[in-house]
Every structure is written in C-alpha cells, then in structure tokens.
C-alpha cells in the first residue's frame, strides 16, 4: 500500500490532492480515492501500466493461468479468471491490452487467500488478456487471446 500511495502522490493529479486531504482528515475517507492506484488505472499502454504497478518487465510463467473462453459473445461481459501455483502470491492483476486503459482490476491477497480469482470485464475489441501476479516479491505474467464477436441483428 505504501508503494501505491507514493505512486498516487507522485502523479500530481487531483486524486493525489484528494488523497492528501483525506490523509489529513480534512475530508472523510469515503469521499476520497485515497488508496486507489490512479496512475496505474489511468495508464494507457501495457508498458506504462506495468511501470505504474511497479512490475517492470515481468517474466512469462507457465505457473500462471488466465482462464476464460476463446470467444466472447459480447464484449460488455467477459468472464476471466487468474490462477497460479506460484508460492506466496500477494497480488494479482488483470490487464486488457487493447482497452483504452489496460488495467482492469488488482487484487491484494493476504496470507491464506488462494491465488484463484474470477471476475468479469469489458473488452472493446478482440485482445490479449494478461494476468500479472506477484510471487515472493517478483512479478510473473501469462496471456490469452479472447475474441470479441459481433451480435446478431447488428445494433
């Protein structure tokens, strides 16, 4: 969290100001995005997102799995899951390469929570989906392409 807080402050945006106000107790925590990693969620490209997450250039790992269908009938709801057998995973993130902002969600896993998370994301178009995990302080990644198809009557 400290690392993320620093990132937010460094970004110098409105949210950072809110974060400082919240930290100072001037506005209630419910009103502010104190901890939300704005820099990472605002980043556009994969590389910038990884940088904002402090992940650098993670190694591909066979021990990380992205689950989901090869084809999504609609991009508004695409089921994706991340699972990994790597030890001591403290963080999992889902990135969608071709979305306007690559980062979809991050999950912080305390000890005892399994590295096995499922959610549903929006995809603007056919894209690679990346699963990023932090294991013993190091980052690893895996990818899968999901095709988004057009629907029947055409809008």
């Amino acid at each position: 969290m400290n690392n993320q807080r620093r990132t937010v402050l460094k970004s110098g945006s409105g949210a950072a100001l809110l974060g400082m106000l919240a930290a100072a107790g001037i506005i209630t925590p419910g009103m502010a995005l104190a901890d939300w990693n704005k820099a990472a969620f605002d980043a556009k490209s994969m590389a910038d997102t990884l940088k904002a997450l402090g992940a650098g250039s993670p190694a591909d790992s066979k021990d990380v799995q992205v689950t989901g269908p090869d084809i999504a009938e609609n991009g508004a709801v695409v089921p994706v899951g991340v699972a990994s057998s790597l030890p001591n995973i403290s963080m999992v993130a889902i990135l969608i390469e071709k979305n306007p902002n690559a980062l979809a969600a991050t999950f912080t896993l305390p000890e005892g929570t399994e590295a096995n998370v499922q959610t549903r994301v929006k995809m603007g178009q056919t894209s690679n989906i990346y699963a990023l995990v932090k294991s013993d302080g190091k980052f690893f990644m895996a990818t899968k392409e999901i095709k988004v198809t057009l629907g029947g009557c055409g809008g």
């Binding site: 995005l33 969608i96 980062l103 969600a105 399994e114 998370v117 959610t119 549903r120």
Partner: protein, 103 residues
C-alpha cells in the same frame, strides 16, 4: 447507498469460496448519451471482503470491470456460521456494505 449485493459463501474441506454479485452501473466515462455528450465515469474503485475482522481480499477496480460486477475467490479457513462482510466504495463517494453467513 446502492442496492444490496448478493453474497454467497460456502466452506468445503477447510476452504471457503466466496461469490459476490454487486449492483453497480460501472459507467466507463467513454460512452456518449443520445445527445452526444459524454456520460461521466461512475464506477466502484475499491472492494474489500472480510472474514470476521480479517481482510481476506482487497481489490481495486477500474471502469473496465463489467456492469454489476462479479467476483469469486477462495480462502483457507472459515467455518459454517461465520460472517463474511463485503464493502465497496465508488468514485462518486458512494459506498455500501453487506454481509452473508458461510454455509
């Protein structure tokens, strides 16, 4: 305040699986309304799940999590009858907590 969440939690062989369905618009901030004006972003930013007092998952969402977010995860421990609490906050400052009992 939003509408209630649907939380299901079941313990099997010492592992509790939690499934959460949240009622939320998750507006991306990229969509245009009928008049061509951008509809402002409105989405859940943080979602935290607790088993009793212990945090078992904390998540941060961007606007590309689907409308009415769904989340499933597993943690070691938990017993039938224990409480699971899920809370979220969104970028407009709205928040909500709901709880469920492990079955």
């Amino acid at each position: 305040m939003g509408n209630p969440m649907k939380i299901r939690a079941a313990n099997k062989d010492g592992v509790t699986e939690v499934k959460v369905l949240v009622s939320h618009e998750m507006e991306t901030g990229q969509r245009k309304d009928a008049n061509g004006a951008i509809v402002p972003a409105w989405f859940i930013t943080e979602l935290v799940a607790k088993h009793g007092d212990k945090t078992v998952l904390s998540s941060e969402f961007g606007p590309s999590v689907s409308k009415n977010p769904y989340l499933a995860f597993k943690f070691k421990g938990g017993a039938k009858g224990d409480k699971i609490t899920v809370s979220w906050k969104d970028n407009k400052g709205d928040s909500r907590s709901d709880e469920a009992t492990i079955g």
